[in-house]
Symmetry: C2
Subunit: 261 residues, 2 copies
């Protein structure tokens, strides 16, 4: 097994299952911390701020990291836009506080749906308070020339009600109504991975991507040329993964099986 | 030119343009009325009730017909479901009053998003007051077994703000979040055409489909085996239509050119 300096790690299905703990994951994180590895939780969830995610890990899952160890698709979107925007800093968002805070921290100005200001970018992420009027505004702004960005393509979000619509479902609405393809930031796209590497000052060969979902976590690693570790504690099942053309670099049933070099 | 007993006629782009009149269309309708033809305005718009559509035609476009001459995708949805539902009559809708009224007139019971009643069908149409919670309910109901129906697939609705999201855009969100294909009722699908023929007691050979949009009106006629008349007062342009494999039966620049046999 190769020695990795950094670990990019998915959250739901990998280090916890909804509200349930995965004790092997907590042990895995402690071993990484003892070995002074760079740890970054890379998550498609754009709705919550990193400090909230870190608090949840500490209080409910006995995983003790700082907000700086959490990298959301919202942060990746803000970092990506910050790199290309120059003085084009007006953004209209469909999204929650995590996305708004990430963009504002990078000095973007959020336009709203009541004023006649044409934004430079429209970012669509999950917003469980969204409505027709907000989505209409996103569509009109993109049709008027704003560049269309999607935080992540997840079709669903598992919660206590069931498989509710994810960010990708809102993106699909806007895509169909604008007939424009968005730039997608989250896994399995490479933007979030490149921005995460930049944040950690690591190169792709130094990092292992760890996750439970072949089609987001593992494909994100494959797409960016990063080694991958699939753990079968979440969504993907061995029989399904075996049918994939490109296999994960490593697979384990539990993160206890992984020996940190 | 063949003699047709009935005329199915599109509305926007064909008999009016938004708020603007198309005088040749009003003359065309009067000639059809003088010749005692069966007239049915066949529209994908599910939001308004037929009486409202007839009033608008009378007051703003000098076209005088009864509500019975208007056939919306909402009425077609209700007629279609009435034919297959038996005693499975619980329906959850994303839609406005036109859709609700059409289903209630056929004795369907509308479920709402506050109660724990599993509907037999979920119908998604345009609803400019919709929100995440209502769309989430549609997704959960379909995932729990309700059959998924879309009133129409229009990506956009032209209005004073621009090209706002149409029913088809809401359908796409639900389709992506459920990974289920809906049965689509409106043009260019054949369900609305078959239901309209049933309503008029006419066979497909007796009717001419008249419209301005190749991809909805004309394709609906082609798909059901009905002759078609494309009028170039709306969306489709001659150069685009010439590239289509299947041509309209007839094309005119203005409905004044059409001689009623």
């Amino acid at each position: 097994m190769k020695k990795y300096q950094g670990y990019f790690i998915d959250l739901d299905g990998t280090v916890y299952k909804g509200k349930d703990r995965i004790p092997a994951a907590a042990r895995f994180i402690r071993r990484l911390q003892a070995a002074h590895k760079t740890i970054l939780f890379v998550t498609n969830n754009s709705t919550r701020q990193p400090s909230f995610v870190a608090d949840n890990l500490a209080h409910n899952h006995d995983i003790h990291v700082s907000a700086d160890n959490v990298y959301t698709s919202a942060l990746a979107t803000a970092d990506y836009l910050d790199g290309i925007a120059g003085d084009r800093r007006k953004v209209y968002i469909v999204g929650e506080s995590g996305l708004a805070a990430a963009l504002q921290a990078k000095h973007f100005e959020l336009t709203n749906d009541d004023e006649e200001v044409q934004p430079d970018y429209v970012v669509v992420g999950l917003d469980t308070n969204t409505n027709y009027h907000k989505l209409e505004q996103a569509v009109l702004d993109i049709r008027a020339g704003a560049r269309f960005i999607g935080t992540n393509g997840d079709s669903n979000l598992p919660n206590e009600r069931g498989m509710t619509p994810g960010a990708g479902s809102l993106v699909k609405l806007v895509e169909y109504a604008t007939q424009k393809k968005p730039l997608m930031v989250g896994k399995p796209q490479t933007t979030i991975m490149k921005m995460a590497l930049q944040k950690c000052h690591l190169s792709v060969d130094d990092v292992l991507m760890v996750g439970d979902n072949y089609h987001t976590d593992i494909e994100a690693g494959i797409n960016v040329g990063m080694d991958t570790l699939l753990v079968y504690t979440g969504l993907s099942k061995p029989a399904d993964v075996k049918r994939e053309k490109v296999q994960p670099t490593y697979t384990v049933e539990s993160l206890d099986e992984w020996s940190v070099q």
